[in-house]
Amino acid sequence: MNNGHTHVLLIEDNPGDADLVRLRLVEGESTVDVSCVDRLADGLAAMAKQPPSVVLLDLNLPDSRGADTFRKVLDQAPGVPVVILSGQDDEALAMKALHQGVQDYLVKGDITSTHLERVMRYAIERQALLRSLEMSRRQQLEFKNQFLSHVSHELRTPLTSIHQFVTILLDGLAGEINPEQRYHLQTVLNSVHQLRAMIGDLLEATRAESGKLRVEPRCITIADLIQQAISMMAATAKERRVGLEVGLDSRIPFVYADPDRVLQVLINLIDNGIKFTPPEGSVLVKACLVNADPNMVYISVADTGCGISPEARTLIFERLYQDPNSAHNNRSGLGLGLFIAKELVELQGGKIWVASEVGNGSTFSFTLPLYSLAKLLFPVVVYEGQLRDAMVLVKVELTPLASVSRSAWKEVCQQSLETLRRCVYLDKDLVLPVTGNVGFSETFFVAASTDLERAEIMMKRIREQLETRGGLKASGMLKVSASAVPLPGMEEGKTLEDRVQALADCISAMAMSFLGSKPPEVGTETQVQPS
């Protein structure tokens, strides 16, 4: 059929059925070769060795039954066409299989050689068509992404020129300007900022669509981030005479999220709130815990603006959506902000939604996971239902040289963290989430399931790897040390979960006390002498 030769893999445990199918195959005129196995495991192994042109699959095999059988085959080789050999009584299952990617089915006892040949040929053709459709879809997506990223790059050059010369005029570097000229130039500068934000959004949305958005969760204080967002938006709110208020629940523990990305979401929601709220209205940002959902923090941004109609509410998180009935003509964005916000929140394990009533304001809410060291630690410290028998906390301190700029240092730290993650065993060591926002000197911790003696080997590897990668050698100093973590006892009535929690608490306390003994870091200009 396909350029002459068709290789059929027949997975069938009933010798009678197998012989019958083989006979029908050979009766046909095509050049067909058949290999037959009677267990799914053997079938999967044969497929891995050499992908067949088509698989004829009985669903009830000694080592797998029903829907599981075709799912495993489809998982292993999504590109290979599969035809099911079904009994008289399980056509329903065969139909289900068709919906999930199986190409066709034959009812046993009802198979003629022409029928069999046609079914196989169609299955192969359809699968090839699907493959080429999928390929061209990917090519188009890739082309679109490249195009958008090219466009946003090209737009930046003239925009930079406008930005530079407007600020030169505004700063009086080309002579005094009068108040009216200043006012007009300020308007140009605001437009430049808007345009710059739009170009950024364009690129972010492209990334979101192709699954290339990056988030780097850390252990963060949500209250600090909200305060930061509020202070960044204060000027805009004041200018539009919209009040900006905060309500924070003081009990909120650490949150496990990417601070830059959370700030991005907050700024977006607050900016929208201000934009759609008339003067003398207000925007309220709140964070709280909800009893029904104890693992998440709930953050909301509520405005007293025009509200959103029910039809618009269902579409508002879609890409490029803008409410056509929006009372204000405030369409100063591309309609990408909420789409990006949704992608970012979901990437961090949360969800985002809106409640609103026309004329009565809107409340956008999103959730983020609370930080639980015990949850992260569990798969690492528990082996075969038991706590592992030794634990070490390795401390990796990076201190920048005085001459290094903040942005370069941030990048070095990020690189070092990635390198560090490659130095540990994923199944028994954990690089602890970094605490707080990126400071000037950075400390990483590794909880390692090993004893102090063997930890030396890991520490040596960490030193070697970090010093050869990521530009650390040129920009900072490295210190690696370790201490043993006392394991919690086996008191009566203590579950494994309790003991992991106790271990997590102990590790947290150790890490905190290490950090506490350090000089202040964020925003200080402490000079560090190279040793």
């Binding site: 090209e154 001459s403 700029s405 370069a408 990048e411 530009g471």
Partner: protein, 132 residues
């Protein structure tokens, strides 16, 4: 008193002119180059204290310039700030690994750029004037 000298490497003459105005107003001397090849020859001749470097350049792009600077005994100590229209997600790490001190995407905030220039220039520069 001598002022710190900054080499501006960019193929866009408008941007070079704008940066020159901005940097002179902040008491820096500037010299310019418009492509990768002349970037190196101007650097050798003028011995600048800092280089502001675009990535997309004719005659040797920014990465080639970074590599040549790193491999030159005379130039390898000069700090380089990259100022480019390219996307930080794809370029920032690469430029820092290639030896740049900082990365800015165009259009960059003037004050942030000036802050980094100030922090990057060797300390105790005798002529460092107060920022305007």
């Amino acid at each position: 008193m001598t002022k710190p000298k900054i080499l501006i490497v960019d193929d866009d003459p408008d941007l070079r002119r704008a940066l020159k105005i901005r940097l002179r107003a902040n008491h820096y001397d500037t010299v310019q180059a418009s492509d990768g090849y002349s970037a190196i020859s101007v650097a050798l001749k003028e011995n600048p204290n800092l280089i502001i470097l675009d990535l997309g350049l004719p005659a040797g792009d920014g990465f080639v310039v970074l590599e040549r600077l790193q491999n030159s005994d005379a130039l390898s100590d000069i700090p380089v700030i990259v100022l480019t229209a390219r996307d930080p997600q794809s370029s920032e790490q690469k430029t820092l690994q290639a030896g740049a001190t900082a990365f800015f995407q165009k259009p960059a905030d003037n004050n942030e750029l000036l802050d980094v220039i100030r922090a990057t220039l060797p300390n105790n520069w005798p002529g460092t004037a107060l920022p305007s």
